[in-house]
Amino acid sequence: MSTDSGAGRRDLPGTPIFDGDSSRRGLRMNKLFMSLRHAADRERFLGDEAAYCREFGLTPEQEKAVLDRDWQAMIDLGGSIFYVYKLAMMDGRSMQYLGGVFTGMGEDDFLAAMRAGGRRDG
C-alpha cells in the first residue's frame, strides 16, 4: 500500500501537511524536541547535541538537520512545527524568524509583511 495515498488531495504548494506518514518518520525527532521543555534536558542537549540526538534515535539526516539548525529540513524529515518550535525557542528564535527562513524572506521582511496584513496567495 502506498504511504502517500491521497497525497494529491492535499498537495497544496508551499504547505507542509503533518500527516500520519510525517509523524511516523518524525516521531523520534519530535520526542527530542518535546524533551526540551525541561531545563535539565536542555542542558544535556547543549552539552553534547550529537550524543543527545543518538540517544533519541534520530536518523543521520535528522541529526544533521538538528545540528545544522536546518529548519526546513527538520520539517521535511517529519518535524511538526509545534515541536520544531521548542528547539527554536531554546535558541531564542521566534516564529517570525522561522517564517523568514521558510519563505526565504528573512525575519525583518517577514515581520514587515505580517504587520502589513499578512501574506496572500499568488
Binding site: T15, F18, M95, F102, M114
Partner: protein, 286 residues
Amino acid sequence: MAEVIWGLATSHVPSIGAAMDRGKTDDPNWKALFDGYAPARAWLAEHRPDVAIVVYNDHANGIDLDFVPTFGLGTAERYEVADEGFGRRPVPDVIGHPELSLHLVESLIDDDFDLTVFQELQVDHGFTVPLSVWTPDPGDSWPCPVIPLLVNVIQYPQPTAARCWALGQALGRAIRSYPEDITVGVLGTGGMSHQLAGARAGFINPDFDHMWMETIETDPAKLATLSREELITQAGSEGIELIMWLVMRGAMDDQVTKVHSDYFVPASNTAAGIALWENRAPQPAA
C-alpha cells in the same frame, strides 16, 4: 437542567498571553487587539457562568505524539498550567468540575462520541490564553471551574468540520441533560487564518475570516460542509483550528445574539479573531 448562557470564540496565539504577562498590552503593535477585547470582557464580567468548557488543542505540552486522541475530555479536579519550556505562565491552575465532566463523558459516549478521558492533563497556551482573553486579571483563581475538551488539529487527519459541528450539538444535549440547574459558558478556540511552516508561511485570508465570522453566527451548518482540504487552502494549514469554533457553536441554540466581535492582524503570524454570543434569539426592538 444546565444551560449554555454564552459562547466565546477566540484565537489562542501564545504571544497574546505573553504580551499580557509582560505588560505590553499598550504597546503599539498590540493595543488595538486588546482594545478590541474590552467590550467582550466587560460583558463577560457581568455574566459569570457556574462552569466553563474550553474546546482547544494541545501544542506538544500536555500530550505527546505517542497517542493522538481525536477528541478528549478532562475529568480532573485540577489542571496544572504547563511549563512550555521557559517557565509556566503566571496564571492560576485550573479548577475542574469532575461531576459535570463525568456526566458529559457518559452522555457523549451514549451519543456515539467515543472520547478519550483525561484524569491528568497539563494545559498549555491553547487553553490558558483564551481564559486570559476572557479574564485578564484572574487573581488567585479563574472565574469558575473549567473543563477541557481537546480536539486534535495538529496531525492530519483532523476530525472533519462536520464531525466537530455534530460533537458540539451532542455537547449541547449533554449539558442540557445535566440534572443540576447550573449555567455554562463554552469557549471555542484557535484560528483564524494562519500558516506557520512552508513557503506559504504568513498566509492570511481576511475575506475567508470575515465570511467565517459572519456565517458561524447565522448558518454554522454551512461551514460544517467544508473539507479539510478546503479549510487548509482557504485558512492556511494551522487555520484549520477553526473547526474548534464549530464545537462551541454546535452547543448553542440555532439563533444567538452577538454581543461583540473583532478582528486583528497580526498576532505573531496569525489573524486573531474574537466573537462573543449570548445564547438566545435576538430580542425584538422595544
